[in-house]
Amino acid sequence: MKKDGKLATFVNPLIRENAILVNLLGMCPVLGITTSLNNALGMGVAVIMVLFFTNTFISLIRKWVPNEVRIPVFIVIIASFVTMVEYLMKAFTPDLASSLGLFIPMITVNCIILGRAEAFASKNGVVDSMLDGLGTGIGFLISCLILAFFRELLGTGGFTIRNPFNNELLFSFLPFAEYKMPIFVQSSGAFMMFGLILGVFYCIRMMMDEHKKEKAKKEAALKKEAENGAPVKEVK
């Protein structure tokens, strides 16, 4: 799966180095707003926008920023972009902005954004930083959507999707509405669901790693056999 070059900077943060699931950064919005797919999508798009622009901007000015004051400079840049996104959302998607509430300005102190600015954008070129910002943002969106999918399904018994621009009902599918468990829409349900998803994710990763190790062992054994003059088998 390991790729090099430009593609890797975009693809790796999606799942392999997912900021939420693997590095456990910036979980407050993930736990807070994933009560519905709608909110998760809105928050994900906001974070993608902020990450993309801050990463681009910081990597543009990285050579002029003295090392001692870089953190305050980054924070000011992040806060300005977050404020822009906040007011854009308030103007164009007022219902979404009101249901996300304080979580939008709180993107400023999200560890992912400062983390990517510090670890990647302040050291790499503009195109790489753009791709990294997009990849990390989409990885954030993916983990938000996974959590929101289960929470909305269990908490409300189905899915309701609204058009964020005019709050029109687009799609409503509530087959289990009679069996809903409202605790999953509360924050205690968020902790529980995220804990379960994280555990399952780690289990799958461990299984995959073990599988890879066994495969490598088998290949090494086959190679040894071939070197010793035994009949060569095809390796899949």
Binding site: V109, L198, F201
Partner: protein, 207 residues
């Protein structure tokens, strides 16, 4: 007086900042590996949060006066960052032993959502008290200030409490037989879910 006490209890217990609206989860999971670091972080955060919220409360009056409220996020985060820097320098100068125990947690507070959350909440005391169905019983600007102080102390102490309980739990969890994939953060989050149920759904009837 009763209202003030009620606000303190609500901010600390029933609408605990970690459990009811997950803010500050990163440092909650990150700094809870041992009891000692949890206590250090808790004290440092309480101090910074109270100081920063007082400054932000007064600063917001200026922002309203000049009609530039849209700058609030930018100004508040700068206030938080400079208060953290100031406290770090102050402690370093006057109490090196305290600096040794708190020093490493101070820079982490800048990116802790709890402080900025408190600063953002206290600037609109009417909405905050209305949301918790309380009234400003002291009245006037002075009452607002007292309530704001109590709210910031309560919220910060709530974070401290959550962090301390979780760090104690986590020390126990290290010796528990947990399936391999779930050990560490995953089982910690499941414990947090149970604590959140206790704090939010269990204590909510008292206040």
């Amino acid at each position: 007086m009763l209202e003030v006490f009620k606000l303190l209890m609500i901010a600390m217990l029933t609408s605990n900042v970690v459990f009811s609206l997950p803010y500050g989860v990163c440092s909650y999971l990150g700094v809870s590996k041992s009891k000692k670091s949890a206590v250090g972080m808790g004290f440092a955060l309480t101090f910074v949060a109270v100081l920063a919220s007082i400054i932000c409360y007064l600063l917001n009056k200026l922002l309203v006066l000049w009609n530039i409220e849209y700058m609030s996020t930018l100004c508040f985060i700068l206030v938080v960052a400079s208060v953290v820097q100031f406290v770090e320098m102050f402690i370093k100068k006057f109490s090196p032993s305290l600096y040794k125990s708190l020093g490493i947690y101070l820079p982490l507070i800048t990116t802790n959502c709890v402080v900025l959350y408190i600063c953002k909440q206290v600037v609109d005391m009417d909405a905050l008290l209305g949301g918790l169905s309380l009234t400003n019983s002291i009245g006037g600007e002075f009452g607002d200030f007292i309530f704001m102080l109590v709210y910031s102390i309560g919220t910060a102490l709530g974070f401290f409490l959550a962090l301390y309980i979780f760090s104690v739990l986590r020390e126990r969890l290290q010796n528990a037989p947990i399936p391999k994939g779930f050990s560490g953060v995953a089982v910690g989050l499941l414990c947090t879910a149970i604590m959140a149920m206790i704090f939010m759904n269990g204590l909510v009837g008292i206040f």
